[in-house]
């Protein structure tokens, strides 16, 4: 635990590297589907420049997939004295600080692919919908421990709404 007044860049907890597999698989599936849809102008409408959408969409999917390992490495969280710090993103960076006392509930979700890899996703819910703190790619054990830690921290620092 670190002091709340500074952001210690060495204290970030990383998510499991196995989460890359989950994320890549997800992007491969959605990439194939969107690329397939983008063939519609070429095949159905016989549009002159119909080859353009599949190339653009396919390239975008490939770049997204290629960047996944870096994006997963960019996800981090740290438990400071009084709040949870969460960051993610390389192109669009997001850094969130949530005081423990603001916790309304903690959710643990497991998707089908993530479950095969033994990973869970932890969601920290506050009264504000925009908070959006979702830590993916946590090994089940870690996720459950983190949940219990967060709940007890929230209990000791309970604040009103």
């Amino acid at each position: 635990m670190t002091d709340t007044t500074t952001i210690d860049d060495t204290a970030w907890q990383r998510v499991s590297p196995k989460y890359v597999i989950v994320d890549v698989l997800g992007y491969v599936i959605s990439g194939i589907m969107t690329t397939a849809v983008s063939f519609v102008p070429l095949i159905v409408l016989q549009w002159e420049f119909g080859w353009l959408p599949p190339i653009v969409v396919g390239a975008a999917s490939l770049v997204t997939i290629a960047l996944t390992p870096r994006r997963v490495r960019s996800i981090g969280y740290q438990l400071r004295d009084d709040d949870l710090l969460f960051k993610r993103g390389i192109m669009w960076q997001r850094l969130v600080a949530v005081p423990y006392g603001r916790m309304q509930l903690v959710d643990i979700n497991r998707g089908p692919i993530a479950r095969l890899c033994g990973l869970s996703e932890l969601k920290f819910v506050t009264a504000a919908a925009a908070s959006g703190v979702v830590i993916p790619g946590l090994p089940e054990q870690v996720a459950e421990e983190l949940r219990d830690t967060l709940v007890s921290l929230a209990e000791s620092r309970r604040a009103g709404l």
């Binding site: 709340t4 007044t5 500074t6 952001i7 009084d82 709040d83 192109m91 669009w92 960076q93 997001r94 850094l95 969130v96 600080a97 949530v98 005081p99 006392g101 603001r102 506050t126 009264a127 504000a128 919908a129 925009a130 908070s131 959006g132 703190v133 620092r157 604040a159 009103g160 709404l161």
Partner: protein, 499 residues
């Protein structure tokens, strides 16, 4: 038709109580009147035919009479009405509520029972509303808003003075004060008609329950002016201009008729706003801010201290001429019902000048009353306590980069935005849920970031963009530390616990 005789004080004794006996009539009255009206309309044709012997088309009633089924149908209708009445009576019998030191609880339903409990320390506001018809009967609806989606506990209907007294009692219990209960509500004079007339004419704020008068006085000129100068009018004029140009270019004036439905809608919208805002009052009570609205149907909302999650002071374009502002707030209440937490209840001040804004702000966020930052936030520019966007952010904020800024007061964050549509957003730190710093790849080239302050959902989204990146990081750490500190120190859920 009055319940003035019911001893009001006993409502908060923890026992189960029933609502005003006229409740079924007030709730289902419209439907009953509609059915009776339908029957009368049918009868009227029948009567006209009988007395004037006109040879109109055979109406259903006459046909029924001839077919000999009349008594059967009449019987069915009567039984239906009777069932209606019995149903309403039963639902009234089965609908009861109780108020203890901890919760307000309502049981209702004949076939499907519901039981709803609201915790008193989570009360976000109490709303006493009087729809016009209920008001004629001296009845009022009391709604206890608890945080959450559609989580209000509704007591409809109570006698007006019982509702007022009950509100005071619930607030007293919720506040955590050990002060003894105040004197019971004044009893009616016994003359029912005079009581009703007095209630109808009385100001929305009960003078006895208040230490202060309404801090803002509305006058009809200002309300009309504010509606005419609002952004809605601006849009309407633009649309009319666009259609006129289109009609002239195409040479067919029929397009002009397309404006009519929209114009009718807007006029009725204006009329609704007008009747709501004309009797607007706002005043401070020991148990929070009390806001009253409405000319015929009135609502009167009490927001205990610390229930306001974010405040926005804004100025539509044309309001710059008279120098008017409006104040909106985010509340932790989400009600899907038509009355209660509708858009108006998040409007703290529909229109007012600078003095009114400061007076209302002093009630809503008392700690900011003497804060010079507020004045700077309304009209100021560059170098007055706010940290503004850097020069290079002018690409993103063409006109407002000098004004676009952020400041951290004692217990609130102030965001100043907009040079054309001026806006000041204030987020009290004890209410801040979380804070996010976001940087997109294009913004990173400009070394600017966006700060999001997360509060409960409402009309306001407290976001400030185009802030210098190092400044944004600095504010991020300072605000997150201050939010923790104020969040743990805040005791407003039992706001008078020391009293």
């Amino acid at each position: 038709m009055t319940l003035d005789a019911v001893p009001v004080r006993s409502f908060t004794d923890g026992e189960w109580h029933r609502l005003h006996p006229a409740t079924p009539l007030l709730r289902g009255g419209i439907a009953l009147i509609a059915i009776i009206g339908f029957i009368i309309v049918q009868m009227r044709d029948e009567l006209i035919n009988r007395f004037f012997g006109s040879e109109g088309e055979p109406d259903p009633l006459a046909w029924l009479r001839e077919s000999g089924l009349f008594w059967l149908v009449a019987g069915v209708v009567l039984v239906g009405l009777l069932l209606f009445v019995v149903g309403f009576y039963l639902s009234w019998r089965m609908h009861s509520f109780r108020i203890t030191d901890e919760v307000v609880e309502v049981r209702s339903g004949v076939l499907f029972r519901t039981n709803r409990k609201g915790r008193l320390d989570r009360i976000q506001g109490i709303n006493v509303s009087k729809p016009f018809i209920a008001r004629l009967f001296g009845a009022a609806k009391l709604e206890v808003n608890v945080a959450g989606q559609d989580a209000n506990v509704q007591l409809a209907y109570l006698a007006t003075n019982a509702a007022d007294a009950l509100r005071a009692e619930i607030l007293r219990l919720a506040s955590g004060t050990k002060e003894a209960a105040s004197a019971p509500a004044a009893a009616g004079s016994g003359d029912v008609v005079r009581d009703r007339v007095n209630e109808l004419l009385a100001p929305e704020l009960d003078p006895a329950a208040l230490r202060a008068e309404s801090v803002v006085t509305m006058n009809i000129g200002r309300v009309i002016g504010s509606l005419l100068l609002g952004d809605g009018t601006l849009t309407l004029l633009l649309v009319i201009a666009g259609i006129t140009v289109f009609a002239t270019v195409t040479g067919s004036p029929f397009y002009l008729f397309g404006v009519i439905p929209g114009a009718i809608g807007i006029v009725s919208w204006y009329a609704r706003k007008l009747t709501r805002y004309l009797r607007y009052t706002i005043a401070g009570t020991p148990d929070g801010v009390r806001i009253g609205y409405g000319l015929l149907s009135t609502t009167n909302e009490t927001l205990p201290p610390g229930r306001i999650h974010s405040v926005q002071i804004s100025q539509p374009l044309l309001w710059r001429i008279p120098g008017w502002w409006q104040i909106k707030v985010n509340l932790a209440v989400k009600s899907s019902s038509s009355e209660g937490a509708n858009p108006e209840s998040t409007t703290m001040l529909p229109v007012g000048n600078r003095d009114d804004v400061l007076a209302v702000l002093a009630l809503v966020l008392p700690s900011l009353a003497a804060e010079p930052l507020v004045g700077h936030g309304l009209l100021g520019e560059a170098g007055d306590g706010f940290t503004n966007s850097p020069r290079r952010a002018a690409v993103l904020r063409w006109f407002s980069w000098r004004r676009n800024g952020i400041a951290l007061a004692d217990d609130a964050v102030l965001l100043r935005k907009g040079a054309i549509w001026r806006e000041l957003v204030i987020v009290p730190l004890p209410r801040l849920q979380s804070i996010a710093l976001q940087v997109g790849w294009l913004r990173r080239r400009l070394r600017v970031a966006t700060l999001h302050l997360h509060t409960v959902a409402g009309p306001i989204t407290p976001v400030i963009g185009a802030v210098d990146e190092t400044v944004a990081r600095d504010f991020f750490t300072r605000i997150s530390a201050a939010a923790v500190e104020h969040g743990s120190r805040d005791t407003s859920q039992r706001w008078r616990a020391n009293g």
